[in-house]
């Protein structure tokens, strides 16, 4: 492989990292409030601290619909939004928009699941001491659920690595794009293999770091 190809691989890796990094931030910014809402608005008998059954079931449906949407289709549907926000529909920056929106409902679900695991007795104790709902959420539930939240976020990031590779199919940039344009369309199997290996290593690394952080938090408890 020539030096030019290696440079291309390096740039693509950076693009992937960039896409994953920003879409992680945005998907969590969207998913965290949604996940919290899903958890706290549950009906009272299921442990919701601010029961709003109608809102809860509406949010639940929205999340389900978004999650079952094939990512490629979602990206195409969101082209107008990308154009509105970034001015274009191709390239790394433009891809962050559909990536964030596709991962947000996933993040919301894992965050909801983590928060639901918090012992109801502990929440009851916090309530009995006169905590406001806001205090229960931010000073109790999120902190108590932290190891599980970290695992959930790790899972979200790994999903985003996968999505970002898929985005290459419609001009998204990054390693997926490289693998398709060089590896598939120009039948450069070597480039394809390198791109795939880098993605595998990225996923392993993210999982490793996520596990470490989660274990670190648990070890102090």
């Amino acid at each position: 492989m020539t030096k030019a190809i290696w440079t291309l691989i390096f740039q693509s890796t950076l693009q992937t990292l960039q896409m994953v990094f920003f879409s992680t931030i945005f998907s969590i910014l969207l998913g965290l409030p949604l996940g919290i809402l899903l958890c706290v608005t549950r009906p009272e008998e299921h442990g919701g601290i601010m029961p709003k059954p109608v809102l809860n079931s509406i949010l639940d449906k929205i999340v389900n619909v978004l999650r079952s949407f094939p990512f490629i289709i979602l990206m195409i549907i969101l082209f107008p939004l990308s154009r509105l926000l970034v001015g274009t529909t191709i390239g790394t920056t433009a891809t962050i928009v559909p990536l964030s929106i596709a991962a947000a409902p996933f993040a919301a679900r894992v965050i909801e699941t983590s928060l639901k695991e918090v012992d109801t007795g502990v929440i009851q104790a916090a309530r009995s001491m006169g905590s406001t709902n806001r205090q229960i959420i931010f000073k109790v539930m999120i902190l108590e659920a932290m190891p599980s939240l970290v695992s959930g976020v790790t899972l979200t990031i790994i999903n985003l690595v996968g999505y970002s590779a898929m985005a290459g199919a419609i001009g998204g940039g990054g390693l997926g794009d490289l693998a398709i344009r060089y590896g598939y369309q120009r039948t450069r199997t070597d480039v394809m293999i390198v791109a795939v290996v880098i993605i595998l290593v990225l996923v392993e690394l993210i999982q490793f770091i996520g596990n470490k952080i989660s274990a670190q938090i648990l070890s102090k408890r």
């Binding site: 502990v122 104790a125 001491m129 006169g130």
Partner: protein, 334 residues
């Protein structure tokens, strides 16, 4: 603070968990509420501590109605209530000291103020050096001590204990009860203890209410209940007491083998020769192993520890007769 409940009702579907309860809890006393599981204890304490609202009826703190407070007032009122639980319910994300700090944080205390008070409270519950201990490193008894300190952080006027000793072994239970009694005196607290253990009522409470099927079936001083239990539920609770381990210092033992039965005599029962009569009538043998005066609910009881042997049927009948004569019979668990 005194608490009055006026005809409280709370149902879940078709189950009347609390079915018309009226109760007066005097201030600066330890009030026990005993009942079997499913009797409605937990619901009752949740209604009293404003964690739930009744379907009908009233809860009054010092003659002020508190069951219909607005959200804001409710939160303010809960900050003046302390509560501890069977499973401790401590925050695993916080150390012992940080757990105790939590109620003060949410009430907006100054940081320096919190630090001083946390140390003060750790001293109070005997955990001076465990400020930085993660919760998972504490024993059950220590966890409940942290929970007590946390409940008392904002100087409440009332402490609710929801089966606070049920997850603890007998020795630890005793030390936690001593702590609660001690704190009750020091802080002039009103304490409400929900339990299914008669030992807890015997060792800690001044007053007791017996709960069955969502109603109060018997109520009075602990001494009265022990001396003259009126209902079957109460008698049943008394017969399942674990034996007298409590205060061996007030007892004289002339045998190292612990007796199976503990008999308690109160008031007029001491006048007739019940034991001799039973021995003659049913041919059972009383082997008396120890005896003395014991303190129950602030009063003295004559106590005899003995074995009763003979024909099993006769033993059974004799025990019934003893109970009929207002003698409390506690049987050790084998």
């Amino acid at each position: 603070m005194q608490i009055r409940l006026d005809n409280l009702e709370r149902s879940y579907g078709k189950v009347h968990a609390v079915d018309g309860i009226s109760l007066f809890v005097p201030q600066n006393r330890i009030f026990g509420i005993i009942g079997r599981s499913g009797a409605g204890k937990s619901t009752l304490v949740r209604l009293m501590s404003l964690l739930e609202t009744p379907d009908s009826g009233q809860v009054l703190y010092d003659d002020r109605r508190v069951d219909n407070l607005t959200k804001q007032d409710l939160i303010a009122q809960r900050r003046k209530i302390g509560m501890i639980f069977q499973n401790f319910n401590l925050f695993s994300s916080r150390t012992a000291g940080q757990n105790i700090a939590y109620p003060m944080e949410i009430c907006g205390y100054q940081k320096s103020q919190i630090e001083t008070r946390v140390q003060e409270l750790l001293n109070l519950v005997g955990l001076e050096d465990r400020n930085d201990a993660p919760i998972s490193t504490l024993s059950g008894g220590q966890k409940q001590r942290v929970a007590i300190a946390r409940a008392l952080a904002c100087k409440p006027e009332v402490l609710f204990c929801d089966e606070a000793t049920s997850a603890l072994d007998p020795q630890t239970t005793k030390s936690i009860l001593e702590l609660i009694k001690d704190i009750q005196k020091k802080m002039n607290l009103t304490v409400v203890m929900i339990t299914h253990q008669m030992e807890v009522v015997r060792d800690a409470c001044d007053f007791v209410a017996v709960l069955d099927n969502g109603r109060i079936v018997e109520e009075g001083t602990v001494k009265e209940l022990f001396a003259h239990p009126k209902t079957d539920v109460s008698k049943d609770f008394l017969s399942h007491l674990t034996t007298v381990d409590a205060d061996r210092s007030s007892m004289v033992f002339w045998s190292n083998v612990p007796g199976r039965y503990t008999l308690r005599f109160a008031g007029a029962t001491a006048d007739s020769p019940v034991i001799s009569e039973l021995a003659r009538q049913y041919g059972v043998v009383f082997n008396i192993r120890g005896g003395g005066i014991q303190h129950v609910g602030g009063d003295d009881f004559g106590t005899l520890i003995c074995d009763i042997s003979g024909d099993p049927q006769a033993v059974k009948v004799s025990i019934e007769k003893l109970k009929e004569n207002n003698i409390v019979v506690e049987e050790a668990n084998a």
